[in-house]
Every structure is written in C-alpha cells, then in structure tokens.
Amino acid sequence: MKIFKSALLGLAFVGASISVNAHATDASITTESTPGRMLVLGGEGIGGVTRSHLRPARHDFPKDSGLSSKRVTTIEWQTTWYPEAIEQSVELCYFRPYSRNHVGCIQVSPNSSGSTTHFSGQRFNEGTEVQLVYRAKSATGVLPRHVAPAGKDRVVFHFSY
C-alpha cells in the first residue's frame, strides 16, 4: 500500500506540473541599455558597427516563476540612433539563455519603436539576451571618428510560464 501511495504521489506531481504548464501566467521584464560609441572608419564601404546588449537580471523575474519553463510571447523594442552617422541600420537578434549563438535577427529601424512576435515560443530565462546591432556606412566630419548615440535602447520581454 505504501509503494502504491508513493507511485500515486509521483504521478500526482507529474500531473500537477502538466496542469500548471497548461495554464500559463503572463509576465514582462523591461530592460534598458545605452549602446557604446561607434567607431566609423574611413573606407567608403567599411563604416562602423556597435552592439547594445539587453538582458533580464535574476531579480527581474516574478518570484513564483521559479524553475518553470518560460517562453517568449512578444518583444517590444525602442531603438536609439547615432545623429552623426550616415546610412544607419539596426538588427534585433535573439539569444536563448546562455547561448553564444542567436536564433535569428529581424531588421528594425533606428530611432523607432515597435513590437515583434517573430521570436514567440523561444525559450526565455535568466541568460537570455537581445542584441541590437547598429551599423552605419559613414559619418559626418573627418573619418575615422567615434560617434555617440542620442539616448538609450529599451526592450520589454513579454513571456509566459
């Protein structure tokens, strides 16, 4: 009888876990970052590139999310720009937790905002990262030179667990 109850207890835990996953809770974490100055080189095809790293910290997560599996639903983004850079572009790239390889990127615009569900369903946890990759073909003034961003980036991770 004791063995039967233990087995039943185990099954109950498995069932309960599945039950929890089937009824997800939604949450969001807001991150901000100021991208570094961009070194724009002199060659006409070379330009410059710099990255902004946006990562949720451990204390950002809801206390009841614990070890639950978390999945991204929507990513809200707000980009800054480099006023002295010419021909700018921005890529938003998603890295799974503690992975050095990203799952993919989308093109977004500098000095703009929006939301994407392109990465919906991707694993999300501490160690996840969004990189905003700023590129420019040239800059005003005499090259090479450093150009500074106008402000901050902001990324809101919406996720369920």
Partner: protein, 309 residues
C-alpha cells in the same frame, strides 16, 4: 484593412563630399596598387593632368572594403557558427567568388567614371547576406509578426521607383545568367529583407545586366552614376488601422527593490519558494478547472493522513 503609409526618414539625405577626383586611370593591370605622380608640378591642375594612376580592380576592392594598405583578410563563416560575428563588418563574410566579382565591378565602375561607392554599397549588402548565412538567419519584416508599439500590424514596401526597378531586374533576361548570386538578388529585391540595404537598385540593374553571359551592352554607364548620394528613404512603412496584437501593460508603478539586502533575502527565500511552487502545483493552485482542482485536493487529502501518522 486600411493602410497608412509613411516614408522612413531617419536623418536626411546626405551628399557625400568625397566623390572621385577626375584622374586618368588604366584599368586591368596586375593586382597591385601603383601610383606614378609627377612631383615637380606648379599647381593642382597641372598635377591632375600629368598624373597617371593605375589601380587594378582587385586592389580597388581591397582598398575600398578593407582599408588602404590592408591585406585581403580571410573569409569568415556566417553568424550561425558564432554570434559574436554580429559585431563584425559585413565585408569580411564575402566569399572568394564575391570578391572576384566585386573586383571586376570596381574595375568597370572605374573605367566608366562611376562613383565607386555604388559598388561598395552593393558589396556591403552582399556581405550582410553572407554574414547572415545567405539570409537564413534574418527574418522577413513582412512575415506578419511585426507591429507598432500599440499592436497594429506593420509592413514595408519599396518606393514606386524602386519597386519598378526591382520588377525589371526580376523579369530581365540577364537574371538567369548573371554572375550575381540569384539567392542574393531574391533577398535584396524583397522589401521585407531589404529594410537595411544600401544598394542603389538602378546601379544593381546595370551590374546584373553587364555581368550576365549574354550581355552585349558596351555603352557607357549613365553619367548619373558619376556622383553618389546617400539616400536613407528606401522603404515605405505601412501601419494597419486596427490593433491585432494584445500587448499586456504593466500597471504596477512600484519600483523593484534591487538592493543587495533584498537580493540576499530573495536568495535565502529561494528554496522555500521552490517548495511552495511544488506544493501549489500539487494542490492545483493555478488550475482553473474546478473538477481537476477538486480531484487533486481530494488526492492530497487522501495522502495527507498517512503522512501525519
């Protein structure tokens, strides 16, 4: 669905001041940079007239894409192999075949008096395509997953002029035999992938044609390519009227306590919270179905007395 359109305008239209100076070139020589200047000159005009600069297409390609005096760097694998490569400039991902083709383009542009930036911008886009594993690591903006900050669907299209040129390229006879990668052409001529492009489509059209096997066009390039102007208004953004994506808004305004003490308290509390989570899961706290909850509660109650014995 009604669509509102607006032309992207980050920054203004720039006219670059460092266009080519009118020098006499002899193209098609060895892959080296040679400059033979008459140093005994009285003024700039005389110096210009007596200068003869001979630069091969390959030397031009290296100088323009990797810097004057630079050695040609190795071809890097795409970002699929290493996310750190996102921070590298695109030209480092150009294949040997790309570099050979671009060297020929630089040489043609030089011979025809075109501004070499037209080739450099094309090289940057081709390099970006290679960097993102032939475009496979880059999402299409028109995939139905892009919204504005209110949750209204956004899409992009080309300007009318670019759309017409893109259609001409795609329907041209030259596209079947051009040396320019067909995958790249499909990619760059799709507005959903082309938001960040720098290439001029009219120049691209000329390159597609002149580097195809059945091209007999020996006429000079249009003089309009002799000067280059950056143009950041390359696409039109469309935003739908209705909100179709529900973006949850955080209504709490309380600031999170991120002090060291609070973090330590959180860390100490973690095992208890884990136990609580398991217990909550076990008794079905998050389960909204009354019947299932009732079953789990009953099961727990049934198991509990024996545990208390």
């Amino acid at each position: 669905m009604e669509i509102h359109s607006s032309v992207n305008s980050v920054g203004s239209r720039y006219l670059d001041s460092s266009t080519m100076t009118p020098k006499t070139y002899e193209a098609g020589k060895k892959a080296s940079f040679t400059e033979n200047k008459n140093t005994n000159v009285i003024n700039d005009k005389q110096a210009q007239a007596s200068s003869t600069v001979s630069i091969s297409g390959r030397a031009l390609m290296i100088a323009k894409l990797f810097g004057s005096g630079a050695k040609e760097p190795p071809v890097l694998p795409s970002v699929r192999t290493n996310g750190d490569y996102l921070g590298v400039s695109p030209q480092h991902f150009l294949t040997h075949e790309d570099r050979n083709l671009l060297a020929d383009m630089y040489e043609l542009a030089q011979e025809q008096g075109a501004d070499l930036k037209y080739v450099s911008m094309l090289a940057g886009d081709l390099g970006s395509y290679r960097q993102h594993d032939n475009g496979s690591m880059m999402g299409n903006f028109n995939d139905g997953h892009q919204y504005d900050s209110e949750g209204r669907l956004t899409t992009v299209s080309f300007t009318d002029a670019d759309a017409a040129t893109a259609e001409r390229i795609q329907n041209s006879d030259a596209i079947s035999s051009t040396r320019i990668d067909k995958g790249f052409l499909s990619y760059i001529l799709d507005p959903g992938y082309s938001i960040g492009r720098s290439s001029n489509f009219e120049f691209l059209e000329q390159m597609v044609s002149r580097f195809s096997t059945n091209d007999n066009d020996t006429s000079p390039l249009d003089p309009k390519f002799s000067t280059f102007a950056y143009n950041e208004n390359k696409y039109i953004m469309h935003t739908a009227d209705e909100v179709t994506l529900n973006i949850p808004r955080d209504t709490s305004s309380a600031e999170e306590d991120t002090s060291r003490e609070a973090l330590m308290a959180d860390a100490k509390d973690l095992p208890q919270r884990l136990n609580l989570s398991l217990l909550e899961a076990f008794i079905g706290k998050n389960d909204e179905k009354p019947s299932e909850r009732s079953f789990l509660t009953k099961l727990f109650d049934w198991l509990k007395p024996s545990a208390n014995k």
